[in-house]
Amino acid sequence: MPWISKNSAGNAVEKRAEPYLTPQMRSHLSQHIVPRYEQKMGALLPCLHEIQHAYGWIPGQAMLEIAEFLAIKPAEVIDTASFYEEYWLKRKGKHLVSVCRSIACEFCGQPGITQAVKDALGIDVGETTDDNEFTLIELECLGSCGSAPAILIDETLHENVKPEQIAGLLDAARKAGAHH
């Protein structure tokens, strides 16, 4: 089974001294979010969002902390976290460029948009630039089909995008600083 890497079973979770789930996050979550749900595990997606938003990815240690916080098994956290695409279980670049590749976008010019991003950043889809600034992905319909093609840079949507605008949009994101 080539897809199971040799060390995966024995891999230790990388640890650091300070927690990812900060005391402020814990108090916000336990006061405002956890009580919304009949069972604590209902708050799992919100907890993962909190970590993803703060760090740009979800480290193993954070998942262990969430498991302890919600009194569930680490395996339950990983099961859920690994199912949803928006959660990054590996580091990505500071900025995420997501190009919609679904039906309206592909047939209204998306291939040219993906190409323009690739050219501007010198990476392929799924890769991160060497300076760790940008990761490029393609994803499915962003709900902007009437203004296709659409791309999401971090949390900002751009519609009716033209290839010549790409360099400018990337520059603006770079200047705006880290944003998960």
Partner: protein, 479 residues
């Protein structure tokens, strides 16, 4: 021949009364409607006054009114909304007329909107969030539900913020929380009725739009659809009775309660099939693709696709004067309307009349004569392969297989036999053939099958006779 008038039974828009849309107003004038603006009087009553009217009625009378209107779900399946509500467990009423405590029940609002080609719920959440909040409050009262979760897709960052703000306004004005609906006003049910409403963000998984996948995601689990029965109305979120409704469905409730069911039943049309529910009311139709003016239009059900595309008040014709080649019926899962099906009527009978799966989200993606239909099929197959949750073998394996076959055909390395094979795979997957748990596989089935059948010659031109050796692209080397 000129087209019939747009929305012949209405003097103006209903769902989009505060959101400028063609042909009524220029979308440039759109803005987020605040609580204050929402509560001003309008042609369909002042905001939250329908809620006031509703709580002055017995909950079952509200349900009865919705049932009578035959409002059908706007999320894709078209199930009659009032009827769905009656599937909740019945409550006993004491001699004194006091109803039993309903216990914990939930409303899950489906704002996952991830069906490719679909961008209509977003319009309501972008600009007039209180309309759906009022619908939520009315539904909760009618169904005696105390907690509602708006499940919104993760990519709708902006819309989630708009909703959070609107909810803050609604809480501050005593709609939700506090002492009960409308600042603890006395209801016809007896006493106040308190409802809480929360936003719950998804995280990038189309399958969470399927109603039971959505419930799993609300419980913090992976979005694997559940086997039904039990149906959610009996055993849903956290095992409690649960109603799931689409954003647009709920947004229809305030005007139905304000004007009454008869008003709603004058719009749209009745079915031409015996014993089939009608298609009443307006529908948000989002048109994308190769038309001059794509966008969301609010139209009475039954308008033809031709009028939608060609009417100067709507999409104003095909882009660059090109010819119409086909249109996805309403979200890619529904399959395709071919070149000779432009006169299809956009209502809930569209499936039976035009050999597509159904009306779906009523959001057609239109293709012009230059479009490569093999590429369209490949794009759609890739979507389903990517979004299959993997529980059912025919869907998990079939979707990957179809995508690889179509990639191969698109690249010119397909063989004649591949066409039959692709159709065989497509036909065998889905909850309707009875081989899978949810309808995602049916969408894949219908999309691929209708495209291959309606544009067969394009596929045939791309493949080589079966005796010719071709490059194999299946496995690790496949795209």
């Amino acid at each position: 021949m000129p087209f019939p008038p747009i929305n012949p039974n209405l003097s103006g828009p209903v769902l989009t009364q505060r959101i400028p849309c063609w042909p009524y107003a220029d979308p440039k004038g759109r803005h987020i409607v605040s609580y204050e603006e929402y509560t001003r009087p309008g042609p369909h009553g002042a905001g939250y006054e329908s809620l006031r009217k509703a709580i002055g009625m017995k909950p079952d009378a509200v349900t009865e009114e919705v049932k009578k209107s035959v409002l059908r779900g706007r999320g894709g399946a078209g199930f009659p909304t009032g009827l769905k509500w009656t599937f909740l467990p019945k409550l006993k009423t004491s001699e004194a007329g006091q109803e039993d405590d309903p216990g914990q029940r939930y409303l899950a609002i489906n704002a996952d909107e991830s069906e490719p080609g679909t961008f209509k719920d977003r319009l309501l959440m972008d600009f007039d969030p209180h309309l759906m909040l009022e619908g939520i409050a009315i539904c909760c009262y009618a169904c005696r539900i105390k907690t509602a979760y708006i499940f919104i897709r993760g990519e709708y960052h902006h819309q989630a913020k708009v909703l959070e703000n609107a909810l803050r306004e609604a809480y501050a004005n005593g709609i939700f929380g506090g002492n009960g609906l409308l600042n603890g006003a006395n209801t016809a049910r007896g006493g106040a009725f308190k409802v809480d409403c929360y936003v719950h963000r998804g995280a990038g998984a189309y399958i969470c739009g399927e109603e039971t996948g959505l419930l799993e995601a609300l419980e913090g689990k992976r979005g694997w659809p559940r086997i039904k029965p039990p149906f959610p109305a009996i055993k849903g979120l956290f095992g409690k009775p649960t109603i799931i409704n689409n954003v647009e469905t709920l947004a229809h409730l305030p005007s139905i309660i304000h004007h009454g069911a008869e008003w709603f039943m004058k719009q749209g049309k009745v079915s031409t099939f015996p014993n089939t529910p009608p298609s009443h009311g307006t529908k948000l139709m989002g048109v994308s693709g190769h038309v001059n003016r794509p966008g969301v239009f609010e139209l009475e059900l039954g308008i033809t696709l031709r009028q939608l595309i060609e009417d100067p008040g709507l999409c104003a014709g095909m882009r660059n004067g090109k010819k119409f080649k086909g249109a996805i019926a309403g979200g890619i899962s529904m399959g395709i309307l071919g070149p000779d099906q432009m006169d299809a009527e956009m209502d809930f009978d569209i499936g039976r009349k035009n050999n597509v799966l159904g009306l779906g989200t009523a959001c057609p993606t239109v293709f012009d004569e230059d479009t490569d239909m093999v590429a369209v099929a490949r794009n759609i197959a890739r979507f389903f392969k990517h979004e299959s949750c993997g529980q059912c073998t025919p869907c998990r394996e079939g979707s990957g297989w179809l995508y690889q076959l179509l990639t191969r055909i698109e690249g010119g390395d397909g063989r004649t036999k591949d066409l039959d094979l692709a159709l065989e795979i497509a036909t065998s997957m889905g909850s309707m053939p009875g081989t899978t748990i949810c309808g995602l596989a049916d969408g894949n089935n219908w999309a691929v099958r209708t495209i291959m059948n309606k544009y067969r010659s394009e596929f045939e031109k791309r493949v080589k006779p079966t005796s010719v050796a071709v490059k194999m692209t299946v496995g690790a080397g496949a795209r």
